[in-house]
Symmetry: C2
Subunit: 200 residues, 2 copies
């Protein structure tokens, strides 16, 4: 059994959302599984010297177009939410607390959170919205609310983000396949070729 | 006859090189032509607040891998040249001087310059290398040397770069198809779908 594909993402990342709708299907075609790892881009951006793209001259205007076009290209519903971006820390902690004990249920929660933000325009920085998402996939609302504020989960998320950066993650989505790094939903075709050929 | 696809590129851009090997074939499939526009990214980077990627923490290491893998993915010979990047101003001026009177010959020169740098590792910042490229496609060496230092050409290149930035160009390759902007060789699949469907 080959190792799972590592899929790092930030819940406020449009290209992370697009990738989240595609990666498990691509992986399954080649007998691979995917380990979802919610992270926070803020510290990675600080480290890499980058910033949220919509605030940048020239790039900001382009990316508003590219987010929507890329989503249409992949057949994924998308509407740029407002506010954008938002800190996805509650969402990431909730995800992590489920991911520990039930990775498949965590993916359901991950899809619900991503769709709430990028398809339905709900503000996932708010705990109540994250808990609505949890409830929609059959998770216990009060239990998850507690976990999202748990000091252990906080610390483990921080450690996970540090470990991701130490591994070279600087954006979302970011993948490792048997050690090979791929950044961006636009690398999905290369990922598919990599899986099909065992590396090229 | 639909308008040509605008293809902006910097001769020191690896993804510009990859796109230069692909875009005319893709365009021709859909009855379209391509207008090549050599530019200089330095001023656009300054404007957009970005910098050459290999100097950035985290990103630098990734892009060394991604340049080569993306070239392999597209079947384009590539070896990261040293020095990299280089100022491509002589190359851009030489290209512009030919492009005015013979756009097809200019594309031949463009291919020769790009391949000299990214396949053969020759330093295209040096005038003698650019003139070797010119000679290899049947252009008059001394005539081109003169043109590359001509004050009119210098001024027109500067104006072309300013106009590109005013239009929103901040990277290489950068395309406009009937007004729609596309950045990056990784947008070639979207470009192809756009051409095939008339926009999506």
């Amino acid at each position: 059994m080959p190792a799972p594909i590592d899929f790092y993402f930030d819940f406020a990342s449009p290209y992370g959302y697009i990738a989240s709708e595609k990666i498990d299907t691509i992986a399954a075609k080649y007998g691979r599984t995917v380990a979802w790892r919610a992270m926070l881009l803020g510290p990675a951006f600080k480290m890499a010297g980058t910033m949220p793209v919509l605030g940048m001259p020239l790039k900001g205007e382009y990316f508003k177009i590219d987010f929507e076009r890329s989503a249409r290209y992949h057949g994924v519903p998308f509407k740029l939410p407002s506010p954008f971006p938002v800190p996805a820390v509650i969402a990431a902690r909730a995800f992590l607390s489920v991911s520990d004990r039930d990775p498949d249920k965590a993916k359901e929660l991950g899809h619900a959170i991503y769709r709430a933000y990028f398809a339905d325009g709900r503000n996932i920085a708010e705990e109540s919205v994250v808990l609505d998402c949890a409830e929609s996939v059959g998770l216990e609302r009060s239990e998850l609310g507690k976990a999202a504020n748990d000091i252990d989960i906080k610390n483990r998320l921080r450690a996970l983000v540090d470990a991701a950066i130490a591994r070279g993650v600087f954006g979302s989505p970011f993948f490792f396949i048997d050690g090979e790094p791929f950044w961006g939903s636009d690398r999905l075709p290369q990922i598919e070729k990599w899986l099909a050929t065992g590396g090229f």
